[in-house]
């Protein structure tokens, strides 16, 4: 009982505090690969603090939806974070069928982000929202097919059971081929959903190409802080989700489990940094090809499970 309480506290603390660190590590990896020194690892925290102390500028057409957007988004992704088990420890919130809730809270987050973008009345942000939901159609398919692989493997509809199933079985028992295919697909979903480089560039403000940056262009001060923090949490949740598709490192002690999880999360951040440094952003018309490929990979993984 005491153990599960400690696990829960660890889960909550990590979910609340660690996400901006991942962003910091991605930036640091990119800077080092480009031969720069880069900002400090804690820079995203400083940025959040700075933004929280600033005022808000509102568009004339903005209604309460604009202010509610970042808040609803943040709450939705935090709820998603409570459903996904981190590493081998149980998730704080779990029940049969919560995988569907996860998909829907992530969709809700996206819905409100794009709604807030539309609410500003700027056609430019409307374009960003259109792009976001267009690509979401494809990446959600890949996400669901990827989750289907683990549902089929574990025979459970609860994230807590299905995501931890690979860790509960011996390596020889795992459907390695399916998991590998799904892992590649899920990594593409991770990059696409969090506006990372082959799909969207988080660092630029190039009008023709950006997706997420466009939608949040009118947010300022504390609202922008909420948006940025929400985006970091979303990245964290997707990375934790992705890790369950990678064959796990077995360990007996719970303390070691958390250490392994933390190391793996940092590894994912470095991997994203590497991808961002080594790849160019895809042309907007090529993004659907990539996302369809992700769906196909997850689909293959599922078909291999059926045989």
């Amino acid at each position: 009982m005491a153990l599960s309480l400690i696990n829960m506290v660890m889960h909550l603390v990590l979910l609340a505090a660690a996400p901006p660190l991942m962003l910091g590590l991605i930036q640091r990896t990119k800077a080092l690969l480009a031969g720069r020194k880069g900002p400090p690892l804690l820079q995203p925290y400083y940025d959040l603090y700075k933004l929280l102390r600033k005022g808000i500028v509102l568009s004339k057409t903005a209604t309460w939806i604009f202010r509610a957007g970042p808040m609803v988004t943040l709450v939705a992704v935090l709820l998603g974070g409570l459903l996904v088990p981190f590493g081998t420890s149980a998730a704080p919130l779990h029940f049969q069928g919560d995988v569907i809730l996860l998909i829907y809270v992530l969709a809700l987050a996206r819905f409100f982000t794009s709604l807030a973008a539309l609410d500003t009345g700027s056609s430019f942000e409307g374009m960003g929202a259109a792009r976001e939901v267009t690509f979401a159609c494809l990446s959600e398919a890949a996400l669901m097919l990827g989750l289907l692989v683990l549902i089929k493997f574990s025979g459970s509809l609860s994230l807590n059971t299905m995501l931890r199933a690979p860790a509960m079985h011996a390596f020889a028992m795992l459907p390695v081929a399916s998991l590998m295919l799904a892992a590649v697909g899920m990594f593409i979903v991770l990059l696409a959903e969090n506006a990372r480089i082959p799909v969207d560039d988080p660092a630029t403000h190039l009008e023709l190409t950006m997706i997420h940056e466009v939608m949040v262009l009118d947010h300022s001060g504390p609202l922008l802080a909420l948006v940025n923090y929400g985006a970091a949490v979303k990245l964290f949740v997707f990375a934790a989700l992705f890790l369950h598709f990678v064959p796990p490192v077995p360990s007996a002690s719970p303390a070691l489990n958390w250490a392994v999880f933390a190391a793996e999360m940092l590894g994912v951040a470095v991997a994203i940094g590497l991808v961002e440094s080594l790849m160019a952003r895809l042309r907007l018309t090529h993004v659907p090809t990539l996302l369809v490929a992700a769906s196909l990979l997850c689909g293959f993984g599922f078909i291999l499970m059926l045989r």
Partner: protein, 213 residues
């Protein structure tokens, strides 16, 4: 053991999909080369005991498929001043979907085929069929002559995977003979490409169907 073979075969599947979606010649050549190298390792993993012939064959295959053939293709690309974009007859996304459909069909087909499955991995036949189909797709849906060479290369890779089922029965001499044929074929084609390029202005295979006096 099964896990290693299966993961290698999955990587082969991933490379297939990547090649159908690749829009740059260089990426295509690199992908074909890496697929060849991955496949050359497999007989070593599958062999019951390692004898020196198996090692020599694997070494020769890696050298040929991973180094020499890609180099010849790159040279042909440079000498003939071929543009670096792949020109598809039907778009990248439709070819990828066709490839995916082919893979699903080969998974279904492999279950129906009256062949004795591989003792180590049940993925060998489907991946082999899917690779052969990928080769055919590259052959039929890409315009340039050099892409067709790569299509043949992939086709051969698929047949090579199928050959792994008969690893005990097919003597390595036959394997080496096929490799030699492949090498000579690609060598000749790259020379032909060079000559066509010197004589005619275009390398578009579509123009081969239109005869003129």
């Amino acid at each position: 053991m099964t896990g290693t073979i299966n993961s290698l075969l999955v990587v082969v599947l991933l490379v297939n999909l990547f090649m159908l979606g690749a829009s740059r010649m260089r990426a295509l050549i690199h992908a074909a080369a890496s697929q060849g190298v991955i496949l050359s390792f497999m007989p070593l993993l599958l062999a019951a005991r390692l004898d020196w012939i198996a090692v020599v064959v694997a070494g020769v295959t890696i050298g040929l498929k991973g180094l020499i053939i890609p180099r010849i293709l790159h040279k042909a690309l440079r000498d003939a001043k071929i543009k670096r974009e792949v020109e598809p007859l039907i778009g990248f996304l439709p070819t990828m979907l066709l490839g995916a459909l082919g893979t699903v069909l080969s998974l279904v087909l492999a279950a129906c085929l009256p062949v004795v499955g591989h003792p180590v991995s049940n993925l060998v036949i489907p991946v082999s069929l899917s690779t052969i189909l990928t080769g055919f797709l590259l052959l039929t849906t890409r315009v340039k002559a050099i892409t067709q060479v790569i299509g043949y290369l992939i086709l051969e890779n698929g047949i090579y995977i199928f050959g792994m089922l008969l690893l005990a029965a097919v003597p390595f001499l036959v394997e080496l003979g096929i490799l030699l044929d492949l090498f000579v074929g690609i060598f000749v084609v790259s020379i032909i490409i060079h000559h066509i390029n010197q004589t005619f202005s275009s390398m578009d295979t579509r123009q081969l169907t239109a005869l003129r006096e």
